[in-house]
């Protein structure tokens, strides 16, 4: 078993423990009932997604400064994992919304900006596919990632800047009972670890792809020459 497999197993185990905490340790919300348990994963995965997009931002900036292929691989991995976690937030939120608001979707600033976030990074992945692989894709994607990050603060502050149907900040306002807060903090930590492990694994995959494609690393090419074609 290599260290990626060990890390993956560890992260999944942590998530299972978090799940146990969510269902057996955290108290049931007296207003919303059990559906409120969505909260833990909903918010955690949003925060994990923000973290992933921060990786994209930092990776992009570093790539543009010194063309480090490693930074670009981090950015690539971060974008993919971030889109996954944004999807989780969206889906969880929609399920929650259906039960408490009676509709999967309403148009408010939080929901819309989150959807836009998803679209921006889906666009990021599309740019990677459509641009010339290698330097051009890396540069263009870095630019998209840097501009796209503008939406992350918009998502976060949307509930304070505009009036929304989506609830405002509860965690930093100390509005949670201690058991809920503890469960939330633990779930959040586990989710962030999971995201980090996913980025690490994806990074490894991207490294292997880059090695095969040899788009970034000049030194490798001279070593791995193909046999002469028969004339």
């Amino acid at each position: 078993m290599n260290r990626y497999e060990r890390a993956a197993i560890g992260a999944v185990a942590l998530m299972l423990i978090a799940g146990a905490a969510i269902f057996f340790y955290a108290p049931t919300d007296y207003l919303q009932g059990p559906v409120q348990r969505i909260f833990y994963l909903h918010v955690s995965s949003a925060i994990a997604a923000f973290g992933c997009f921060a990786v994209v931002l930092v990776g992009g900036v570093i790539y543009l400064r010194n063309e480090s292929p490693a930074a670009d691989r981090f950015a690539r991995s971060g974008a993919l994992v971030g889109v996954v976690f944004t999807t989780v937030t969206l889906v969880m939120g929609m399920l929650w919304a259906k039960t408490v608001w009676g509709a999967f979707w309403v148009w408010d600033a939080r929901l819309t900006s989150t959807l836009v976030l998803w679209i921006i990074y889906a666009g990021y992945l599309l740019v990677r596919r459509l641009a010339d692989p290698g330097r051009q894709a890396a540069r263009f994607a870095a630019v998209v990632g840097i501009f796209g990050f503008v939406d992350v603060p918009v998502v976060h502050f949307s509930v304070t800047w505009w009036t929304t149907q989506h609830p405002g900040p509860v965690i930093i306002n100390d509005a949670l009972p201690p058991q809920m807060l503890a469960t939330f903090l633990f779930t959040m930590a586990c989710t962030v670890v999971l995201a980090a492990v996913m980025i690490a694994i994806r990074y490894r995959i991207e490294t292997l792809v880059d090695e095969r494609e040899q788009l970034f690393d000049p030194a490798k090419v001279l070593v791995a020459r193909e046999p002469e074609p028969v004339q």
């Binding site: 921006i120 599309l126 051009q136 540069r139 263009f140 630019v143 501009f147």
Partner: protein, 220 residues
């Protein structure tokens, strides 16, 4: 090498081409008027709801006109392979980009000069300096963003389609704040000055980001 001279030369070249062929502005202006017409039919506007619907149509038409104008400005260069020829000169890519952005924005502003009177004609909404100011201020930031991504997608496959996909999400702040500003200028509740200052903030943010990023998009 003076970047202003380069930007000026590029902008003049684009405007002169447009003047010769009259490709963009007349058709775009007529297109905007048609969009207003369609909006009119699609929404059953009456005097009560005009002020709440007109801004939406204004921004939709502006967004699509902008996409076409910015997309066109770089697509034409690409079709002719003249973008590469420009980039093969020692002129700075940022200056080239600035020149193209200025020319495209001027074309879009020419279209706005048609659209705003037409809007108040069709919908009976007021046509005030406040409305004009809001639209112009929004145009600055939208043009910077739009040209940046237009320059990017000009060198990528599927450019007609990638351009809206990349640009629209980042235009949304302008559409929201601009829509708010226009609505309040047309007499609906909402703070005009707040919306305008938000627009100016976004303008500054994206102008700075764009001028930093232009190098990476056009270089290569």
């Amino acid at each position: 090498m003076n970047p202003f001279r380069v930007a000026l030369a590029v902008a003049r070249k684009d405007l002169r081409s447009e003047w010769r062929t009259r490709e963009v502005v007349p058709a775009l202006a007529q297109f905007i008027i048609l969009a207003l017409l369609i909006g009119n039919f699609g929404f059953q506007v009456d005097s009560r709801n005009a002020a709440s619907i007109a801004p939406g149509i204004l921004w939709l038409a502006l967004v699509f006109a902008g996409l076409v104008a910015f997309g066109r400005t770089f697509a034409a260069e690409r079709e002719q392979a003249s973008l590469e020829a420009m980039l093969m000169t020692p002129a700075s890519p940022v200056a080239i980009f600035a020149g193209k952005a200025v020319a495209a924005s001027l074309l879009l502003i020419a279209c706005e000069a048609v659209m705003l009177p037409a809007l108040s004609l069709f919908f009976g909404t007021p046509f005030s300096a406040d409305v004009v100011a809001a639209v112009l201020i929004a145009t600055v930031g939208m043009a910077a963003l739009g040209c940046l991504f237009a320059a990017m997608v000009a060198r990528v496959r599927a450019r007609e389609l990638l351009l809206p996909l990349l640009t629209l999400p980042l235009w949304i702040p302008f559409i929201i704040a601009g829509g708010q500003a226009v609505q309040s200028a047309m007499g609906l509740p909402g703070s005009y000055s707040e919306a305008i200052s938000l627009l100016i903030d976004f303008d500054i943010l994206f102008l700075v980001l764009t001028s930093l990023a232009a190098r990476f998009v056009l270089d290569e």
